[in-house]
Subunit: 349 residues, 2 copies
Amino acid sequence: MAEKAGVVKNKQVLLKNYAKGLAKESDLEISTESTIKLEVPEGSNGVLLKNLYLSCDPYLATIMKGTLHNPLFPVYSVGSPIKGFGVSKVLDSKHPNFNNGDLVWGETGWEEYSHIEKPDSFFKIEHKDIPLSYYTGLLGMTGLTAYVGFFEIGKPKKGEKVFVSAASGAVGQVVGQFAKLSGCYVVGSAGSEEKVDLLKNKLGFDDAFNYKEEHDLVAAALKRYFPEGIDIYFDNVGGKTLDAVLPNMNMHGRISVCGMISQYNAEKPDPLHNSACILFKRLRVEGFQVYECFHLYPKLLEFAVPYIQENKITCVEDIVEGLENGPAALVGLYSGRNVGKQVIKVSSP
Amino acid sequence: MAEKAGVVKNKQVLLKNYAKGLAKESDLEISTESTIKLEVPEGSNGVLLKNLYLSCDPYLATIMKGTLHNPLFPVYSVGSPIKGFGVSKVLDSKHPNFNNGDLVWGETGWEEYSHIEKPDSFFKIEHKDIPLSYYTGLLGMTGLTAYVGFFEIGKPKKGEKVFVSAASGAVGQVVGQFAKLSGCYVVGSAGSEEKVDLLKNKLGFDDAFNYKEEHDLVAAALKRYFPEGIDIYFDNVGGKTLDAVLPNMNMHGRISVCGMISQYNAEKPDPLHNSACILFKRLRVEGFQVYECFHLYPKLLEFAVPYIQENKITCVEDIVEGLENGPAALVGLYSGRNVGKQVIKVSSP
């Protein structure tokens, strides 16, 4: 491993300043100043990683504000690389769980090489026949999010009716496919015709609609697509969509609250007018955070790997090449620029 | 049993017309016109009941509107007695489960005597050392509601912090006592000083406050009474109180949605502004309906009967004498006239 021999340049995406409101590209900067020695430093029991793929997720932009005081999430410091989930190769290991050459996924830095002092939470990649980028998506945090929210909280039964918002996004597309594999009827909403087409023609949704084309938001569309009501709503957006869903839920319906992207940067939150439906329809509305659910990862693998190997699940990815394109990709999530799971390819193994 | 010999007058509370909006006393009328033969009619396999106590519950006023199409609830017909839960004595039985002289509770008519064609859902009263009126409350549907909402949905752990709205009401007072018996800290809100005093000095709540005296509704009060946040909110009122509770909930908190009395007659529902807390705090918000939970009644008995026998649970009742005072008692629930569980005593066994 020639790289291990010496000291190399380490391109990084640094936090330039904490974001005010919606994170902008200019809140980040690309640095080529830093260098790194490609071995675990003296006295450390960690690993030295070469980062291959980085996962672009909306919550990263929230952390960039510096106001999120949540021990589950990483903290970003001005002048340091931001962090997120990624797929990496172990170049050097002083940790008993990892060997040089292992492929792993976990929380790493937005840089070419990272020294991880405590890599205990990293997962070793065992199924190497599956594209490595999938470990940022379907077989990474994204897939686990879909798994927990749909199966553990949604508790689907065959034949049930499932609605997914932001359905072409990273999590949504996985939920939709999980729903189909579970014998459910599934309809997704998305923000462009291209995405609607993707849902219907590539991801196997029973139907899909463009919420931007629906006049009274999604209420009328939901009535049309769910004449028998909704049993499970997988919520990625919150706000007005959640409010429109409530009266369309069936008795004993479940709302799995995974994200509320419409609310994160709202000056005033959208009010919910239909909360009484929770009572009248005996709904269960439950928020969750995948960071607390990594113990369920083996269940995701057990469920999803065979379907991937049989080509029964697709993963639509939007891969940008090069760390230097990371900031635009991250910020683009909020304008819906991406089609499918947004991934940054940093380098090849 | 002299009553059984013949035909007697049967005083009734009849629905005069469907209520428009909030039910009024004048939507009901007392009739002394009807007579009834005190035995099960020829060809019926039912029971003939002498009604002793009737339970006054807010949902009855909702049924009076005639617009509630819910197969779980009874239907009221204009000119017929309204129905609700009550305690009765079996005067005559053609049903294998019941014998003459049995004391039972279940859904009966608001009248002195009722013929119940299908009494299968009635419960036989085994613990006769406990005041019979308790079977409209603590050991009736009210107690079961509290049991299901607090234990099955709230899943309390010792030391957790519990907030109960409408805490001096039928269900609320039971929840508060269940919470104390479970080692929780419990604070209730109510609508008068008299009720607050009852909560603190008779029902053993750790604290209580009058929501009508709190300027920015209950938000400030909640901060004061729950400096460490709320783990379980037992919601009887919905609306603004629910909205104020959301930001005060702890991570993984549970909101057991039992009732939303503030919303039933609202022209416009109160909007919820804090729904994003469901996501950020990973809350579980769950509505339930006790009509679906009668299979859990033995668990309530097992839990509550020993505490009642040891005088460790109190039941504050507001008993009015005489069927003719029923309409005012029922309508009074909406103005908070009652202090404690509202019961109508129809007759003695």
